[in-house]
């Protein structure tokens, strides 16, 4: 080997290393330049607004007061917004309702999506077309989906028509005017729109399960259910967690479809947390109070998420 290390070769290697070092440095500078715009946007939308929100939440400021937000300290009220919030029944019931919608919709979407995904695991005639059609609901603009379901659930609309046909009776439920059925209706709309997302993600996961293991288990005489429980489900664990996490996060924000269908009504029967904040923002215009609500939610969510992440990391190490 040493006989090959002629002086010319050594100097070539040196030159190459030097070039590498120079371009390494250039790379770092280019990397910083490339990430700069995104960093600026994140700062612009995260740090400054958060401080502003904190400041306003300690005051009674409203855009109708005629003074700029920076002068809000003239309306300082300390932690009154936060203590008010603790006693605000409408806020807590909106939070409870949001949780209820989540507890019904996310599991329903998961089970329906998983069931459909299992049916789509192997090839059959028409699979590709059916697959594309299945994905349509989640691509429909949510506000438009809200309007679709608003029409469907009219008392003279197709839902009652189908129910009449099935039961043989004349069904004329005023779905959206009754507190209970209105909540059911908005849940159905959410399940209709987001089951395809579960289906899509879970199917991608199912297809990714190594086929040879499943085949080996089949040869060993394992039943379908045994194969599914002992091989497929454990391999799908991460994917299931991702799919559920996405839906839990998105479902918590629920607004568009629901607001168009019911406006949060009748009364406050379908008022979720986003609808509640929206109404206080637009109708009551007490922005100091809104800022306090929003901050409480942001902090609570951050704590929940960091807990979830640390638990997941603990699970990985165990």
């Amino acid at each position: 080997m040493s006989s090959l290390a002629t002086p010319e070769k050594i100097s070539m290697v040196d030159a190459a290393l030097d070039h590498d070092a120079r371009s390494e440095d250039g790379g770092r500078r280019l990397g910083l330049a490339l990430t700069l715009p995104a960093q600026v946007l994140v700062l612009f939308i995260a740090v400054f607004p958060l401080l502003m929100q904190l400041y306003i939440s300690l005051t009674d400021w409203s855009p109708l007061d005629g003074i700029g937000w920076w002068q809000a300290h003239e309306l300082w009220n300390g932690f009154a917004n936060y203590t008010d919030l603790m006693a605000d029944g409408r806020f807590w019931s909106a939070l409870g309702r949001t949780a209820l919608v989540m507890l019904v919709c996310v599991p329903a979407e998961f089970l329906l999506g998983l069931g459909l995904a299992i049916l789509f695991m192997d090839d059959f005639a028409g699979k590709r077309v059916f697959y594309s059609i299945m994905l349509i609901p989640m691509m429909v603009v949510p506000a438009v989906a809200g309007y679709m379901f608003f029409m469907l659930f009219q008392s003279g609309g197709p839902v009652n028509d189908i129910l009449s046909g099935l039961t043989g009776m004349n069904v004329s439920i005023a779905w959206l005017s009754d507190p209970t059925t209105a909540l059911v209706a908005v849940m159905i709309a959410d399940i209709w729109q987001w089951t395809p997302l579960m289906f899509l993600i879970l199917l991608a996961g199912l297809v990714g399960v190594p086929e040879d293991q499943v085949r080996a288990a089949t040869l060993l005489g394992a039943s379908w259910w045994q194969r599914f429980r002992t091989i497929v489900l454990p391999k799908m664990k991460t994917i299931i967690i991702i799919a559920l996490a996405i839906r839990v996060i998105e479902n918590f924000k629920i607004f568009d479809t629901l607001y168009i269908m019911t406006g949060g009504g009748p009364g406050v029967a379908t008022e979720t947390i986003s609808v509640y904040i929206y109404k206080v923002t637009q109708q009551d215009l007490i922005w100091g109070y809104v800022a306090a609500i929003a901050l409480v939610i942001l902090v609570a969510l951050s704590i929940l998420v960091s807990l979830a992440i640390s638990r997941m990391n603990a699970g990985k190490e165990a």
């Binding site: 490339l34 349509i136 993600i201 379908w224 986003s274 923002t281 929003a294």
Partner: protein, 286 residues
């Protein structure tokens, strides 16, 4: 799996049912859009699944051509809201894709901006409603309320996490040999990115951009808060197509809804190969 005949019958019946449930709401709206006023104004009394006398009156109506049946006058037509939706979604996509692609490359190749992945996921985590007060104040201060460019900027920020994560996984997947070869040839890193990497990434860029566009086009809440009159987007305008005077203009709303719903559905089906990657922030690839 199982290949027996009873299983196939079971499979096709379940799928048929699922397809029916999937399609009925959309088809109902489509049918509504082509019904003449006599058929939709009596929506409570007389339900027909298909328009008996199909007409384009609803479309003519929202674009301001007067129709004989509808005496109601619109104070403005659907043209400007459609333009507003288009401009804000397109430029929002450009902002998100521009900043997202650059940052994703910076992180994927040079390890810059290690904080971005988590910061951007967090951005996505919070309900928009919980951060809108400062945004509304800032946008008012910058004179961007009720403008398509104001909407475009916030859309760009809101969808930046998707653009960044999608492009990051595409860059991570791309073999580096070609880039390395160009570097050895003496190309600067900036030139390699612009002249070699980006052109190679064209399909990935196109699918990511469509994905981001669908998200921007789908917004309702932000436009509801940040536009008031001049630049309202389609969904906000749609809600205004009902008043105490006229009641719900079912047919007109359905026509507009159909216009809003068709582009994202077509785009979504076109990029369905990448949907999983986009929706799971690149955690899962198909």
């Amino acid at each position: 799996m199982n290949r027996s005949l009873p299983f196939e019958i079971f499979r096709y019946s379940v799928i048929t049912l699922a397809l029916a449930i999937t399609l009925i709401p959309t088809l109902w709206m489509a049918s509504m859009a082509f019904k003449p006023i006599a058929e939709w104004s009596a929506a409570g009394a007389d339900l027909t699944w298909w328009p008996k006398n199909p007409t384009l009156d609803n479309f003519r109506f929202i674009f301001g051509t007067s129709t004989s049946d509808l005496i109601v006058a619109l104070d403005r037509t659907a043209g400007k809201p459609i333009l507003s939706s288009l401009l804000s979604a397109v430029f929002g996509t450009l902002i998100a894709m521009g900043c997202g692609t650059a940052a994703a490359y910076g992180l994927s190749r040079f390890g810059s901006g290690q904080n971005l992945p988590l910061a951007l996921i967090q951005l996505r985590l919070f309900p928009p409603m919980a951060v809108m007060i400062p945004v509304m104040i800032m946008w008012a201060f910058l004179g961007m309320v009720d403008s398509w460019w104001g909407l475009a900027l916030i859309y760009g920020i809101v969808t930046l996490p998707f653009a960044f994560w999608l492009m990051k996984t595409f860059f991570d997947d791309m073999p580096r040999e070609i880039e390395d070869a160009a570097l050895v040839e003496g190309c600067s890193r900036g030139r390699v990115f612009l002249k070699i990497t980006l052109p190679m990434m064209r399909p990935a860029l196109a699918s990511s951009a469509l994905f981001v566009f669908i998200l921007n086009w789908s917004d309702y809440l932000i436009a509801l808060l940040l536009t008031t009159r001049e630049w309202v987007t389609i969904p906000v305008y749609m809600a205004s197509l009902s008043s105490s005077m006229t009641g719900q203009l079912y047919g007109a709303k359905a026509a507009l809804g159909l216009i809003a719903a068709v582009p994202p559905v077509i785009m979504g089906i076109a990029i369905q190969r990448h949907l999983v990657r986009g929706l799971t922030f690149g955690a899962l690839k198909q």
